[in-house]
């Protein structure tokens, strides 16, 4: 078993501004752990977490993929970037943190290069304006307010993720039932030739959480 990253350096004050790891985070960790052997066999060179928040997922990925991979993490919230950096050093994983929206600024240079991408997006359905305002505020609200169907921010990333993935690259997405996962899956296959599978689901309170794993239809099945 891979231990959950040490987050003892983060305080209640940090969690006023940055999303505290919860059931959705832990489900993503469990999915990565279940795939650990396959991920190692892919010999990942570049790992990227979008919207890294506390940095818990990136630090955990570091324990799976080891020191020969590059860990990149982005967040629109500068306080989250700071937490991610600290969580990296606390867990001895060198996480390179960039304060940006999704992958803007990195996209041009990372085309077809990223072996593992993780995104735990703001998936909670809210008013559309609430989601836009939350992204503009660049604070903790942006970690959950997802607009119409909870897909407003996710949709923007789903349009570009296929360009970032390496030929054997994998993309792990956290989603809830309200996001209409079957619709996401068929759209990604039809528009971007990404096949997908729901690899883990769990009920946490009112949320029906799932982890969806995408890969190029041309990628070999492991």
């Amino acid at each position: 078993m891979i231990p959950t990253p040490d987050l003892s350096h983060l305080s209640a004050q940090d969690y006023e501004h940055v999303y505290e790891p919860a059931e959705d985070t832990f489900l993503l960790l469990d999915a990565l752990e279940a795939d650990a052997e396959e991920l190692r066999s892919l010999k990942a060179v570049v790992f990227l977490e979008v919207g890294s928040g506390s940095g818990c997922v990136s630090a955990f990925a570091g324990k799976i993929l080891g020191p020969s991979a590059l860990y990149l993490a982005t967040d629109i919230n500068h306080r989250a970037c700071d937490c991610t950096r600290r969580t990296g050093s606390q867990n001895k994983v060198a996480v390179h943190t960039i304060n940006t929206s999704l992958t803007t600024g990195l996209h041009q240079r990372l085309k077809n290069s990223v072996d593992v991408i993780c995104f735990n997006p703001p998936y909670v359905p809210t008013m559309s304006t609430e989601a836009s305002e939350a992204q503009d505020l660049r604070g903790i609200e942006g970690s959950w307010a997802g607009g119409s169907d909870g897909m407003q921010v996710t949709n923007t990333f789903l349009e570009v993720v296929h360009e970032l993935m390496s030929p054997t690259g994998r993309f792990y997405l956290v989603a809830v039932k309200e996001n209409n996962i079957p619709k996401i899956q068929s759209r990604m296959e039809n528009l971007y030739q990404l096949r997908s599978k729901i690899i883990l689901t769990r009920r946490a309170g009112r949320e029906h959480l799932s982890i969806v794993r995408f890969e190029h239809t041309t990628a070999p099945t492991l």
């Binding site: 010999k43 060179v45 570049v46 020191p67 020969s68 991979a69 590059l70 990149l72 629109i76 500068h78 970037c81 700071d82 950096r85 060198a94 390179h96 943190t97 960039i98 304060n99 940006t100 929206s101 803007t104 600024g105 990195l106 996209h107 041009q108 240079r109 990372l110 290069s113 503009d136 660049r138």
Partner: protein
């Protein structure tokens, strides 16, 4: 942590700025040198993904001239040590990065690059 490795992956993304938008040029930087664990496999893995000229030029801007102008075919220990230092041990803590094309300036604060744009600048 803006290290030269991260810097080698960042390009300007202002609306319409799509050529000559890389590498961003360091301005008014404060640098700290910090030792990092040497890992030859990591360097060899990552080498093909680097834009070599951008790395050499940016290292020079930060005062490091240890890298050869052309990427060598033989990866000897001395080369890997120098590459390790340039990519991972030079930390830009404060300053900014300016686009060579549109001159947009991206701030670096507390070691973190800020690539966010205002709404009207987004492509």
């Amino acid at each position: 942590m803006v290290r030269l490795l991260t810097h080698n992956l960042l390009a300007c993304h202002v609306k319409g700025c799509t050529s000559n938008n890389f590498p961003l040029q360091f301005q008014n930087v404060q640098i700290e040198l910090r030792e990092a664990d040497f890992n030859a496999d990591f360097l060899k893995n990552f080498l093909p993904k680097l834009e070599w000229k951008a790395l050499v030029d940016s290292a020079k801007d930060l005062g490091d001239t240890s890298l050869p102008l052309e990427q060598p075919e033989m990866l000897d220990d001395e080369f890997l040590k120098n590459l390790h230092h340039v990519l991972l041990e030079i930390h830009v803590e404060e300053g900014s990065m300016t686009c060579p094309n549109c001159k947009h300036s991206y701030p670096i604060s507390n070691g973190i690059p800020n690539m966010l744009l205002a709404e009207h600048e987004i492509g």
